[in-house]
């Protein structure tokens, strides 16, 4: 059923909170995502010519990097992981003609039933975030599952029941939790750090939030002005002595 589910009272809204301040752009989340998911729910995620000149494959996580000019107060280099945001108004679901694309009422995860997907690709056209990737080996659409086969997997120790990208992040820039519960750790983090939606103007109401880079907290020392010195040999000597002693 591709009509959106009625929100259940107290239902979870599982999602990710990504900290653009601490992301170091190492691509570990993308690699571990690929590693888990190529053997997971939508296995396999194809790879073509992985060591060739034109490698091609399905990745549910793509790590961009951007520069900001800071609006006149110092720029930032921002590493930016991009994946499915498990939107509350996902047009990728409502455009699906077969019911293959669906949003779960109980936790808000957006999934594809690859057994009934006809591979029309319309869902990927409807997603403003470029989150869906098509598998032309088997002719169906695939996407981030929020590691549904990890987070509910009772075979795994409880501490490991989180998405692969979150589990592997070496700088703890990725957080997983219930964004529908204002008391959850992720919701508090979003409130505290002023987490934002991507492209809110399109009205998809993404569940995942991004924490903007922190403004510099430590004031940098102003550059020392060169001391006024006289002219002539004496002052040149003094400058030299000053340089040597300053080392």
């Amino acid at each position: 059923m591709t009509s959106l589910p009625q929100p259940l009272p107290g239902a979870k809204k599982l999602g990710l909170v990504i900290d653009l301040d601490t992301c170091v752009g190492c691509h570990a989340c993308a690699v571990n995502c690929k590693e888990w998911n190529t053997g997971g729910h939508y296995a396999p995620l194809y790879d073509r010519a992985p060591y060739g000149a034109e490698p091609d494959g399905i990745w549910f996580n793509r790590i961009h990097s951007y520069e900001t000019d800071g609006g006149g107060c110092g720029g930032h280099t921002v590493n930016f992981p991009r994946s499915c945001l498990h939107c509350e108004e996902p047009q990728c679901v409502t455009v699906c003609p077969t019911g293959a694309s669906y949003k779960r009422a109980e936790d808000g995860i957006v999934l594809v039933n690859t057994d009934i997907c006809i591979g029309c690709k319309l869902c990927s056209w409807a997603c403003p975030y470029g989150a869906r990737e098509f598998d032309d080996d088997v002719g169906v659409m695939k996407k981030c599952t929020l590691c549904i086969d990890r987070i509910y997997n009772t075979e795994l120790p409880e501490a490991e029941r989180e998405p692969a990208c979150v589990a592997t992040c070496p700088s703890r820039a990725r957080h997983f939790g219930d964004l529908g519960d204002p008391e959850s750790a992720v919701s508090k983090l979003v409130a505290e750090r002023g987490g934002v939606d991507l492209m809110p103007e399109l009205g998809y109401r993404p569940t995942n939030k991004y924490l903007p880079p922190r403004r510099a907290q430590i004031p940098t020392k102003p550059v020392e002005a060169p001391r006024a010195t006289g002219n002539g040999l004496g002052s040149a000597l003094l400058t030299l002595v000053d340089k040597v002693l300053s080392r």
Partner: protein
Amino acid sequence: MTPASSVLLLTTLTGFGYGLLAWLGIFAAAEALPDSPWFAPVGVAIALVVASAGLIASTLHLGRPERAWRAFSQWRSSWLSREGVVSVLTYPPAIAFALLWWFLGPDAAATRAIGLLAAVMGLATVFCTAMIYASLKPIRQWHNPHTAPDYLIFALFSGAVLLAAVLGASSGPAWAVSAIAVAAGFVAGGAKLAYWHHIDAQTPLATLASATGLAAFGKVTPLDQPHFTENYILREMGYQIARKHAGKLRRIVLAVAFAIPIILSLLAGFRIAPEILAPLAVIVTGIGLFVERWLFFAEATHVSALYYGRAA
């Protein structure tokens, strides 16, 4: 958006087929068609064969064409599903119209009523097709008030050109149909110019700053790409057409899809070699509208391309 030839064929051919069906129904209701018992059945057969060819072509771009039947299920939310349902529901009234024409005659009230119903259903299918594009929020060149009326106008224009050729081949050219084809050509050309004017004046739906949530940090520019080769997203949605090529193609569309067919229809209407010029007008219109549809895709930009520093 990367133009997919199967989808271009779908929309161009269904435009001709359902446009012809619409005019057959409308002219039958007005008792303005030749009353040969063959006329409506042959006309409906041509309309359905052309439209069906388009519908079959559309399944070629599916990853799993053998599952296409599943697309009839989600008509409550999906315009693609509605297109499938309405296209199938168009066959019964269209076939009934042809049968009633043959058995009850062109003047029977039932024939005229069912003909009109077939016309409405055909145009409803075209409307559903248009809404697939018009409903996609990430693509500003499609998600606007021009898309749906334009598809209907182009279907009626190409249908009129086709009807003029069918009439020319059977009972001789009809001045009224050629006049409608000419008028529809002017309306369609004007609609296309208005559409181009509209998309050229649009502001982008989003910026890289809003797409990354970094609007408070000043101007955002891409530094490193996530990958060095094209992926699915870029192949499908990162298509970029050079402005000078688009300008040239727009002039080609105006000439081939609208201006030349208008001139050919006008000459055919004045009975200047109608048996050659009317079918020629169909072929020229078909080529022109195929290019028009190609450009409709090629000029469309998708906001997801912003992440890669491309225009949207």
